[in-house]
Symmetry: C2
Subunit: 323 residues, 2 copies
Amino acid sequence: MSDPLLGWFQSHQDQYISGEEISRELSISRTAVWKQINRLRKKGYQFEAVPKLGYRLIGKPTKLDESSIREHLKTSSFGQQMKLLERVDSTQNVALSWALEGAEEGAVVIAEEQGEGRGRRGRAWHSPAGKGIWMSLVLKPRIPLHFTPHLTLLTAVAICRAIKRIVSLPVGIKWPNDLLVDDRKVCGILLESQAEDERLLSVIAGVGISVNLEADDFPEELRQVVTSLRRESGQEVDRAALLAEVLFEWEQLYRLYEEQGFGPIRSLWEAQSITIGRALNVDTPFGQVSGVAQGLDESGALILLDADGCYKKVFSGDVQFST
Amino acid sequence: MSDPLLGWFQSHQDQYISGEEISRELSISRTAVWKQINRLRKKGYQFEAVPKLGYRLIGKPTKLDESSIREHLKTSSFGQQMKLLERVDSTQNVALSWALEGAEEGAVVIAEEQGEGRGRRGRAWHSPAGKGIWMSLVLKPRIPLHFTPHLTLLTAVAICRAIKRIVSLPVGIKWPNDLLVDDRKVCGILLESQAEDERLLSVIAGVGISVNLEADDFPEELRQVVTSLRRESGQEVDRAALLAEVLFEWEQLYRLYEEQGFGPIRSLWEAQSITIGRALNVDTPFGQVSGVAQGLDESGALILLDADGCYKKVFSGDVQFST
């Protein structure tokens, strides 16, 4: 929290704080106090003002707001170009168009709501208004096409780390890039790549984090397999702070990857994984493969040890835990 | 040539062939001869008819025509869905839109002329009307993303083989997929891929063959580095026959790859290569690499042996021969 006044109100929920106290504590004039309160009101914070008692924080912004995100943002490029939109079909589509029109690496598209948010294999991604982080980042990596899976894994690690920093929850990665809490999904990642021969032109990295959704925000058929940070932690999560943390961790790992390659990312992924050591069935384009997950190879493929004692590599597929 | 009458005329250029001779040779009635000549006229062949002497072939179709292509076509899927267009910006764009709208694997877009034909790295590809094969094929391969370079190499082999069948010319492949005659380019290939995580969604494979271009059809600055099949062979080439042969060889190799993987393709590529054994400079995204080309690795990367006796792998780049 970079805003001391807001931090004070948030740590004194349901209490009145007088203008005089604020003035004294922050060494600012009474007029400045009034201006600060108004600044927070403009961001969507609601205060009750009672003569003699002072101000009480009674409502927080429900909308993501660019200045709040920028206050938290510690990156040098990720998120520095930003489109914050109300409702879109899919942030992936907006970001791809923007990339084709020349958006720089690190440009990010965020929407309060997606009408046609998508996951892998054309599956729908449920993206209701005001409760999630639905975003797409433009990457223009100078790596060969066949290293793309590294970015998929790197993204999962970054978001896992960011969530853990903001909310204390046992989030883990299911190969390649689903984030689960207690075997229920809280985040989906989808990388869409455009290449010319062996040269990657752009990667649009889509991330959907179910932040403040309540049980009844999810369609009934999904409630057993998905959850949200709020449901798991019991508390509302500051989306702007989480978003800024995601962009920060992501940029850090991306720079690490540029400098040192996949080695460190692989170790970090394995450390956050809930896949390794478990018996899995994987539906691949070539049929089902089963075995106990051992780790990643240098390309990012998952190594399985099957019942016959043979090692198998899986490059893409849907993982189901069988134990 | 599947048309005996046309073959006869083509092998007797500038001679008159009488209706009676044709009737006797092909064992058809005089009325049938007249019908056959009219059929060829509809395709764009021009005949002079002189009483007592007979018919003389004086002009060939300058346009590609769907029925001529289909007459030559021996494929089961490649080219069975076909869009033959007069003038487009780029066949790549038309084919990508078509693929997104549901065109099946093997669908092909052919244009007489491209306004903005493109090669690698946004370079222009010169595509004047009526003299080349400017085409894009839709592929939806069930292979992991990192196998895409196999398709680039496979395409070069297929087109090289097709050209050799139709025109007897020493065509060879410069890594990864330029086709040269006497170190001048006659064909360029550009694969544009769309992927979702590690799963290829579609590949739009663009091919430009400079078939019947004359020297002055090329911009002056290109004349030293490009050539055409006509310039090299001294004869006009039947574009419909060549196009059908390209699609046939391409489909054959694609099926072979589906069944047996990259091994046989790699051998065929190496057999058609003019790269192996030569000293090269390669401009890669990571700087210039030099050495003598040794062959391909299993991913399709080019293996170089440098002056220090070290082996190096190149995944993408522009090759210049240094000897």
